[in-house]
Symmetry: C3
Subunit: 347 residues, 3 copies
Amino acid sequence: MSKSSAGNFLEDFHVGQRIVHATPRTVTGGDVALYMALYGSRFAVQSSDAFAKACGYWSAPVDDLLVFHIVFGKSVPDISLNAVANLGYAECQFLKPVYAGDTLSATSEVIGLKENSNKQTGVVYVHTSGANQRSEEVLRFTRWVMVKKREEASIIDGQATPSLAPFVVADDLGHAVPELHNYDRILAGSRHLFADYAVGESIDHRDGMTVEEAEHQLATRLYQNTARVHFNAHAEAQGRFGRRLVYGGHVMSLARALSFNGLANAFHIAAINGGRHVAPLFAGDTVYAWSEIREKAEIPGRKDIGALRIVTRATKNIASSSFQIEDGGPDKPGVILELDYWSVMPR
Amino acid sequence: MSKSSAGNFLEDFHVGQRIVHATPRTVTGGDVALYMALYGSRFAVQSSDAFAKACGYWSAPVDDLLVFHIVFGKSVPDISLNAVANLGYAECQFLKPVYAGDTLSATSEVIGLKENSNKQTGVVYVHTSGANQRSEEVLRFTRWVMVKKREEASIIDGQATPSLAPFVVADDLGHAVPELHNYDRILAGSRHLFADYAVGESIDHRDGMTVEEAEHQLATRLYQNTARVHFNAHAEAQGRFGRRLVYGGHVMSLARALSFNGLANAFHIAAINGGRHVAPLFAGDTVYAWSEIREKAEIPGRKDIGALRIVTRATKNIASSSFQIEDGGPDKPGVILELDYWSVMPR
Amino acid sequence: MSKSSAGNFLEDFHVGQRIVHATPRTVTGGDVALYMALYGSRFAVQSSDAFAKACGYWSAPVDDLLVFHIVFGKSVPDISLNAVANLGYAECQFLKPVYAGDTLSATSEVIGLKENSNKQTGVVYVHTSGANQRSEEVLRFTRWVMVKKREEASIIDGQATPSLAPFVVADDLGHAVPELHNYDRILAGSRHLFADYAVGESIDHRDGMTVEEAEHQLATRLYQNTARVHFNAHAEAQGRFGRRLVYGGHVMSLARALSFNGLANAFHIAAINGGRHVAPLFAGDTVYAWSEIREKAEIPGRKDIGALRIVTRATKNIASSSFQIEDGGPDKPGVILELDYWSVMPR
């Protein structure tokens, strides 16, 4: 029984290795509708062809996180099928809009490798890139995962820890956004534009969303993400949590959709500086979110948009309104996600 | 924490006020597929481009209730986020077919305002209109909701109760239906046409459909309806019902899909005279439906179609076959919905 | 209350009878996205327009089993609404690719009829055919179901048991596959092509997938399959299993999607020789699968593809790795499906 893959172990990676991931994927209006049904996203640019065209897009671009999840999903069978933990991601840039009809494929390069002192696991760092059917890069990101070794006795050569950028610089933002015109903030749902947000400002997104097993399974399969912990109640009954774990990206999308209430004009994720899954989410839990404006930046050459650096935190089973920013850091009980990203917003 | 909206309260409305609702929404084949997966609808006109074209449509029109739910959903953040109850709707007309690719947007006008004697709540009456990307009105309806006051002490000026039409007149029906030709009743699933139905006739739709939390959440998010009671198990555990409530429109769509068995050629909802949610529905409940033909009408100028006025009642956890029309009125225990609508049917 | 259908009983069938099934159905990118979300299928040809075009298709063809389920679903209201059991299917051939935008319709011919000795039930054999909007046959299959008699006293005339082919011959395979060129096995996810598989070889597909009520209901409604046992918890509480039963075709699609891990290049089901649902599946169960290569065949006139005859077995709540082929026949406890089919694979 050898033709099926058990995934790669630490021994199977080396720095400089390039991996072409399987199963190119055409994104369609079907994916867009499912994404809306799964999260309830309401950003006008992604919701309406008419609105997007008026702004300067060809049609409504596909939600940035849907693109992220699909590209990420392709990397799972090769990179993280034997992952113990997804440790983090950084240096994520959205480079071109993706439209319904585009086909996404993904490749990764191993940029770091570090055995843990227990000799049973190690950390693999990869740079993953997503491209469309014209081989144009639409997305890139770095992630690092803790994976198992196949055998404790194996020697891991060529270890290296890459240095990662703490955040994406403003020059690298906005490439996926055409020059904006006719952005109608009334139709978009908020009068607040770039100038109206202040560094240090907090926004409670108010609403909560309870997650069902069927929902996160549908989502994660839609992304063709094969990580076993999300799908197999029979095996996970014997696993670390005793049950299925919700894909971390599902939490990102929920928090982002909730953030519409307060950030309706932050219509595009230009970059993700860092993401950290602080605690696991399970079906039956209710997700809330609040955000803090960490930084504001001009984008060189762009008079139409500015960049807001936003830290969105998601909680489970604790209303976001119960958090005071001064005492509600990412490690306060109940926080499950800290997402540090750049959004662009009309000026 | 002020940029997010807590919704409008009674004090925020005045008669004559016009509200442009956020987030225009392009309807796609993805929405149509999800709608089918959620309800199992089988009306041939909406299911098949080939069938619809043969009849005179450009392609399969989007299900009428899907259009209704999307337009309704847009009005929720502005009109009913602080609703205590959705009291009813009336004067609903479907004016033009909506096709995949069309973009829907919604506006409302406040047409009535009435404070309740308890000084804590009041009723807001709105006329809501949905339009496509060419600014053609595709749908209009009136609804009234009980909303909270922000403060008991507030004075509500300009109170007025509108008079509502008890039903839509036959002249106003069928505008969304092209002149029908080549309607194939074998392919459509029933040999019964307009002439075969009699006023007073009852039809048991027989089947039952059990609703899951994931299903009604997917549906309600698909409509971008943000009413909190549908999504937040954590907060609703402390709420009126102790659990999430199924969106009333979900029941309408279930009952309509079940009604195919007996009303297969009632392919289009031309108007809704009135809708009343008699009791709440929760996940785990099973919905049944039966219908009564209340009236038949000729449509001026139309030889191809006639209008049937149908009252469909949905029940929960009681088979529709157990109802006798003479003793099964809308207030018999187990009834959850009474929907009085005009359908058109080929002659 | 007579306009709704209670379905056909044994008395309603006769050999030679032709039935045009209701509700033609246009398949769209929405259906394809939902199918992916429901099963997580990863075959490159069906996932990517760009990949499929490079191979010689017009665009990505719709998954073969999605076509099967839709055509099968159309036959349910007429053939098997009063089925006691779906006994089997055979002689299933996929004859033409189906693309998003095509409209499927279905007809059946009764080819056999046999009353059971208990006089309460009997077996109906039908040959069902699915066609596209150009009346081209895209799929045909034979199935036989045990259905109830309306009355025990009825006399069933004209009984006949058809002889069924034990398997589809190689000459009849591959009609739905264009001459393949530029098939990229790296992008497709496996280096193993036709020559690499040996008769008698077993493949453990490793992963397990837990099924939720919402998932199988969404799937079965998407196929417009109205069989009551899948949807009505209220009635099924008094039924044979005390709960809703998962549609057997849902298991087929799960097993097929799982089989990607080990059969990534078996991208097309050319024919189904036989299918048997050995035991029922319920929500909460976890499905695993393994496959055995039973036969290899050249396809006359095709140098580009060869045919693998594969027997895939699905289990519930038992990891496929725990089965040894020598003692794990279809009747070992835990097996729920045995599917004997021909796949084509690039050479």
